[in-house]
């Protein structure tokens, strides 16, 4: 059963990119364009990993993370932060890793594999 990754980013090009990249490497993907939409997706699904952008309109990454942490069942889903901001690694203290845009695809894949396997 392939692992599922939820991609949260407001830029459709980046969502497309991550979708293609991750599915090419054997993962199923879900997408959401902001924090609120991401919660909607989580209401119906439980992904194995979440990639999270920080700066998004409507609801930001940190907001989403706080909301997620209140969940009884999904608070432990690992999060990888992918952001254009530098130095925001500690905004999501529970993230397993943080990559800054533009990121090395190999680096992301390695981190994903490390966290949830392939």
């Amino acid at each position: 059963m392939p692992k599922t990754i939820l991609i949260v980013d407001d830029d459709p090009n980046i969502r497309d990119y991550l979708e293609t990249l991750l599915s090419d490497n054997g993962y199923d993907t879900l997408t959401a364009e902001n924090g609120e939409k991401a919660l909607e997706v989580l209401a119906a699904n439980t992904p194995d990993l979440i990639t999270l952008d920080i700066e998004m309109p409507e609801r930001t990454g940190p907001w989403f993370n706080r909301a997620l942490s209140r969940s009884k069942t999904q608070a432990n889903i690992p999060i990888i932060v992918i952001t254009g901001h530098v130095g925001l690694k500690y905004v999501i203290p529970t993230a397993v890793g943080s990559l800054s845009k533009p990121f090395e695809p190999a680096e992301l894949l390695a981190l994903v594999r490390e966290t949830i396997g392939s």
Partner: protein, 636 residues
């Protein structure tokens, strides 16, 4: 010349006979019958000899003797005494009678007595004459001595004074170098215009002039004679001051400054003149040095490309340089804060006040306005000016124009800000671009045409966005002067339309370009103006894409020409702008497009239009659409 003789006897016969006898002897005889009468005659005649009987009525001979001696002690009185008068006669001797003869008078004895008296008188006269001569001689000689003594004293005084001056200059030590070296010739002159005393230096340099004429040491005065400062001092009784030339003993001429001072005796008459001559060649050299130094200072003061003003504790400007005067007006005498900062009260953060307080330099940045209305950023440094005791008496304020630096700084800061703010967007763009490339490669690997086409579109769009961004950044970063070249407006507009058409088509937006032919030629910065129009058109496209309320969208781009200007109109029926968005549309870094916008596009478009001396107007209604109206005057 006959001696005058007064004969006093109460007997007339004796007076007659004795009188005759005495006349024969050669005397001028006057007679009186008693003492009282005798005194009357005595007072008028003033005889040198009196011959008097002792016993007489009214006043006797003794009384007469006393009286005469009282009047004139030198008058010789001979007493005529009778036999019984011997004691009386002798006591007359006690009263300084010269002699006595007894009655009856023996003519020979009388003759002899008178002769003795004559001799005595003669001797007395002789003695008197000698005495008078001697007194006169003594008086003369002692005057001369006094005069010599005075001259000597004056000379000594001069020497002492010179020694004192040397001593003083020794006290000054190194601090008064030139004073030590200053030669000072001192001489004293008398009324005969002779030199009576000189100081050591005078002797060494000018020669031993004591006894010579006062004018001999001066050049040319031997010919002029009596005209020099020494002579003038004697004439006028007042000290003189004049520039002269003296001759050294080796023949060299020496420029000197001569001061003279009269030395008067107790009666006020000028007896001596003190002459002090100072070699001015050294002073002239020092004056020249001083002048050159002062000139250098003035040059520096004027040539420095800063505003320089010096003020005192009362805020009065005491000096300012030309640049200051040009931009703020003549400051000397004015209150600093009024003329420099146009304030009625002293400036609260004045660095000059701080320097007056602690003697240290201080600085302050401020904005000042020149006489021509131009505002400038200046940085003012204050430096203390101290007096001899080290107190700060004035402070100099040096102000540098840093307007250009500040403008540059602002520019760089906003550039930095801009770069910082767009970096996030840029990173997103780059990631998306990389994503497009990845998907392209992946599509090719899998033979997935759909994916390939999709990826290619993404790449194209993103490259376009990166290009725009870079061009905008470059436009903003470099000099933003417009380079206007003549261009046919229709041609420019058609080019713009061509660039935009494909993108509009891709987004399924109806694009109408209404561009008449031959609108005319204008001097325009083609590249920048085109970029600005493209920017606005692409915004219109984005607005249409973002608008989900309408089924279809349309953009029109129309150009027309009036007599005064070229007019561009761009309208769309996209999402429109709220009031806030409209108000901030042209400001820097405001973007309503979230991460997609850079905040530069409309700012630069507005800047370009402004540089063409044109205007750009924006009308919009949320949910309805937006219109941009750009007007560029032909002559712009």
């Amino acid at each position: 010349m006959s001696e005058r003789l007064l004969l006093v006897d109460d007997e007339e016969d004796i007076r007659r006979f004795l009188g005759l006898f005495l006349s024969d002897l050669g005397y001028e005889v006057h007679a009186a019958e008693n003492g009282e009468k005798a005194l009357e005659v005595f007072d008028t005649v003033q005889p040198s000899i009196v011959l008097t009987d002792i016993k007489m009525p009214v006043m006797d001979g003794l009384e007469l003797l006393k009286r005469i001696k009282a009047r004139s002690p030198d008058t010789e009185v001979v007493m005529i005494s009778g036999h019984g008068d011997m004691d009386l006669a002798i006591s007359c001797l006690q009263y300084e009678a010269a002699d006595f003869v007894t009655k009856p008078i023996n003519h020979d004895i009388l003759d002899a007595a008178l002769k003795r008296i004559d001799e005595k008188l003669a001797m007395r006269r002789e003695l008197r004459r000698y005495t008078e001569n001697l007194e006169k001689l003594v008086h003369e000689k002692s005057s001369r001595v006094v005069e010599l003594e005075r001259q000597l004293a004056a000379g000594q005084m001069v020497e002492t004074m010179c020694q004192a001056i040397s001593g003083l200059s020794a006290d000054f030590g190194d601090g008064a170098g030139y004073f030590n070296e200053m030669p000072c010739f001192v001489a004293v002159h008398n009324r005969s215009l002779e030199v009576v005393a000189t100081n050591q230096l005078y002797k060494e340099r000018l020669g031993d002039m004591v006894g010579h004429h006062s004018w001999e040491v001066y050049v040319g005065q031997a010919l002029r004679g009596f005209d020099g400062p020494v002579w003038k001092t004697f004439e006028t009784g007042k000290g003189q001051r004049s520039r002269e030339t003296m001759v050294c003993k080796n023949g060299n001429e020496l420029p000197v400054m001569v001061h003279t001072s009269p030395i008067a005796a107790t009666d006020g008459k000028v007896e001596l003149v003190l002459e002090i001559a100072v070699d001015v060649s050294e002073i002239k050299r020092l004056q020249e040095e001083l002048r050159v130094t002062q000139q250098k200072y003035m040059d520096l003061f004027e040539a420095t490309p800063c505003y320089i003003a010096v003020r005192d504790r009362d805020y009065r400007v005491v000096a300012n340089n030309t640049l200051y005067k040009t931009d703020f007006g003549e400051g000397v005498g004015q209150l600093c804060h009024q003329i420099f900062r146009h304030r009625d009260e002293p400036c609260p953060d004045c660095p000059v006040d701080a320097t007056f307080a602690d003697g240290e330099p201080h600085s302050l940045e401020a904005v000042v306005t020149c006489l021509d209305g131009q505002a400038k950023n200046v940085l003012t440094y204050s430096a203390p000016i101290r007096n001899a005791t080290g107190e700060v008496v004035e402070v100099m304020a040096l102000s540098t124009d840093i307007t250009q630096i500040r403008e540059l700084q602002d520019h760089l800061t906003s550039l930095g800000l801009m770069l910082g703010s767009i970096s996030h967007g840029v990173k997103g763009m780059l990631t998306a671009l990389e994503g497009g490339v990845y998907r392209l490669e992946s599509g090719i690997k899998r033979g997935d045409q759909g994916r390939i086409g999709d990826a290619a579109d993404t790449i194209k769009a993103l490259v376009g966005r990166v290009r725009n961004l870079m061009l905008n950044v470059l436009y903003y970063a470099k000099s933003r002067d417009m380079v206007g070249e003549p261009v046919e407006v229709s041609y420019l507009a058609k080019n713009v339309a061509q660039i935009v058409e494909p993108k509009a088509a891709r987004e399924h937006i109806a694009f109408t370009a209404d561009i008449p032919e031959n609108l005319g030629e204008a001097a325009l910065d083609t590249a920048n103006l085109s970029a600005a129009l493209v920017n606005i058109l692409e915004n219109a496209i984005d607005a249409c894409v973002a608008d989900t309320s309408k089924p279809s969208h349309a953009i029109t781009f129309s150009v027309m020409a009036t007599d005064a200007a070229v007019v561009f109109d761009i309208t769309d029926n996209g999402m429109g702008m709220s009031q806030e968005t409209r108000e901030k549309a042209f400001t820097l870094f405001f973007s309503s497009k979230g991460l997609k916008g850079t905040g530069l596009g409309l700012f630069i478009a507005h800047d370009v239009v402004k540089k063409h001396r044109g205007t750009i107007e924006l009308t919009s209604e949320p949910g309805v659409g937006t219109k941009f109206h750009i007007r560029l005057p032909w002559a712009g």
